[in-house]
């Protein structure tokens, strides 16, 4: 387990990328410091144990080297003076403009735990033009399906989903909560039937998106953002 300090220079990719083909992905945030993430990743030898994984990684390194100039250029265009926090990816999804400090909740909501083998990068509390600070999540070789990412609007209503194809942003959408959600949050009412071990999932009507306001389908209790956040 290694502890990271706020970067004063571009983070070397290996320090931020926590890959998990063997279930080695775990991130913890220490809430007492503005930027500190503990990333537990398996030793490199383990990560590259399978030839196919090794090949993939090699490929990415190569592309990275090839694309690096482009990446830096792109970043300096969108945020002058800022460094590239996470390396360029070839295919996948970039979840950008996540409210600072909520990237890990986003991962949780999306059930991204690294165990499916996709390379996942997380940057916390990076400076941003649109927000004071933001978090970014990049998932390689996986395109979030339309609607799949909408649930993250619960904790990150300002997030954007960028689908990356061949290093380019091929699609960009703002997250939007669906009219009703189920299975992500529990009802805040302890005497709600959905909290009693019955074979049902809590589900809610979305009354308002930002700040979020939900009404329990079962007990009609109104849940507000703090009630939701408490659960992550």
């Amino acid at each position: 387990m290694r502890l990271f300090q706020p970067p004063t220079r571009p983070l070397h990719e290996e320090r931020l990328v926590a890959s998990g083909p063997f279930g080695g992905f775990r991130v913890e945030v220490n809430l007492h410091t503005s930027f500190s993430a503990q990333i537990q990743s398996l030793p490199k030898e383990t990560l590259t144990a399978s030839p196919s994984v090794k090949d993939k990684r090699t490929l990415h390194y190569k592309h990275d080297r090839k694309q690096n100039a482009v990446a830096m250029q792109h970043i300096s265009k969108s945020s002058p003076g800022q460094d590239l926090y996470v390396r360029k990816i070839r295919h996948g999804t970039v979840i950008d403009h996540i409210s600072a400090g909520y990237a890990l909740d986003v991962l949780k909501i999306l059930s991204i735990d690294g165990r499916d083998g996709h390379t996942v990068s997380v940057a916390l509390n990076v400076p941003s033009k649109k927000q004071a600070k933001k978090d970014i999540v990049k998932v390689e070789d996986r395109e979030l399906k339309p609607g799949e990412a909408d649930k993250i609007a619960l904790v990150a209503p300002t997030a954007t989903i960028n689908i990356i194809r061949d290093y380019q942003v091929a699609e960009k959408t703002r997250v939007k909560l669906p009219p009703s959600i189920g299975g992500i949050v529990r009802c805040a009412n302890p005497s709600c039937i959905s909290n009693s071990g019955e074979p049902v999932q809590a589900s809610f009507a979305v009354l308002k998106e930002d700040p979020v306001r939900l009404r329990c389908y079962y007990c009609a209790r109104i849940m507000e953002k703090p009630d939701v956040l408490k659960q992550f």
Binding site: N189, S191, I193, S196, E198
Partner: protein, 306 residues
């Protein structure tokens, strides 16, 4: 209006005003049958699943069913049932639905009736779930007001006492908010109506929150009393102080409008003094009778007999 046949009666919020009015109109049709009896529901079986004891509500449903020629079975408490052995509500419902044409469910948890309805093939009527929903009580309250005062629109209605934990007042306030009434929400500070209920209700009607009962009694057409329970107070001295201010006596009622009616979901303790019983204002026992009639209407509607 969608047909009532097979419909679940889970929350008063599921019933728009035309539906409520139709239920009340049907109750008018039922009223003579309450005395004369009917075979309208002959051969139909109502199961009462009471996970929390409530003799009154259960008897009222059983009486309604019996008067319409149907039969009732069920349990009045969970003692000695499979529930005590750990069976969940979802399973209980899926077993009992095979014994009956309709389920009447009372449960201590909020949303229980909604869930029961989800699992049940048969229609479910909520006879009280958790602290907030008691739709048949709200309907019988509306029916009482309409019967006694001719209409609901245009009235000044005071809900007095425990507006926070009182199970009946939430459903009643929601129901009343569909009519053109003025609500007086009269309670001690700590028993004020929950913010979300108040906000929802005051979107539709004028609702005034106040701690002062005696100041407003002369304005009210309906004086709806509820019990202020000792358990709600951390400080007993505070309870003693508050208790007296939400108590209704015959003398106090001399200030009220001549036709004002006094209602109470019962049981009462001493928030309505015994000397009120003999005044023309007292309608709480009448209310019980209207309750049977109203439930007859619901049973007949849901079972498709009217």
């Amino acid at each position: 209006m969608p047909s009532f046949t097979g419909r679940d009666i889970v929350s008063i919020r599921d019933l728009p005003r035309p539906d409520i009015d139709h239920i009340l109109d049907t109750a008018d049709v039922m009223e003579p049958l309450a005395k004369a009896g009917s075979e309208m529901l002959h051969g139909k079986i109502m199961a009462t699943l009471f996970f929390e004891p409530s003799t009154r509500t259960r008897l009222s449903f059983e009486s309604a069913m019996t008067r319409l020629g149907g039969t009732a079975l069920g349990f009045a408490e969970t003692k000695g049932t499979s529930v005590e052995k750990g069976e969940n509500l979802a399973d209980t419902v899926r077993v009992v639905e095979n014994y009956a044409d309709l389920l009447v469910v009372r449960h201590p948890l909020e949303g229980a009736a909604r869930m029961a309805a989800e699992f049940s093939k048969m229609p479910v009527i909520n006879a009280g779930s958790g602290a907030e929903e008691h739709p048949t009580q709200a309907l019988l309250d509306l029916y009482t007001i309409r019967k006694e005062l001719g209409a609901i629109d245009g009235l000044n209605i005071g809900l007095i006492g425990d507006l926070r934990f009182g199970r009946t007042v939430h459903s009643l306030a929601y129901a009343l908010s569909q009519y053109k009434v003025k609500l007086f929400l009269i309670s001690p500070e700590i028993l004020k109506m929950r913010k979300e209920v108040f906000e929802e209700v005051s979107k539709h009607v004028t609702a005034k929150e106040t701690a002062s009962f005696h100041e407003h009694i002369r304005e009210l057409d309906v004086v709806y009393m509820t019990r202020v329970q000792k358990e709600r107070f951390a400080d007993l001295a505070e309870y003693e102080k508050v208790k007296g201010s939400y108590r209704l006596t015959a003398e106090e009622l001399t200030k009220a409008k001549k036709n004002a009616i006094v209602m109470h979901p019962l049981p009462r303790v001493d928030e309505v003094a015994a000397d009120v019983d003999t005044t023309a204002h007292a309608k709480y026992f009448q209310q019980v009778q209207y309750g049977v009639v109203l439930r007859m209407a619901l049973l007949a509607l849901v079972l498709g007999a009217v």
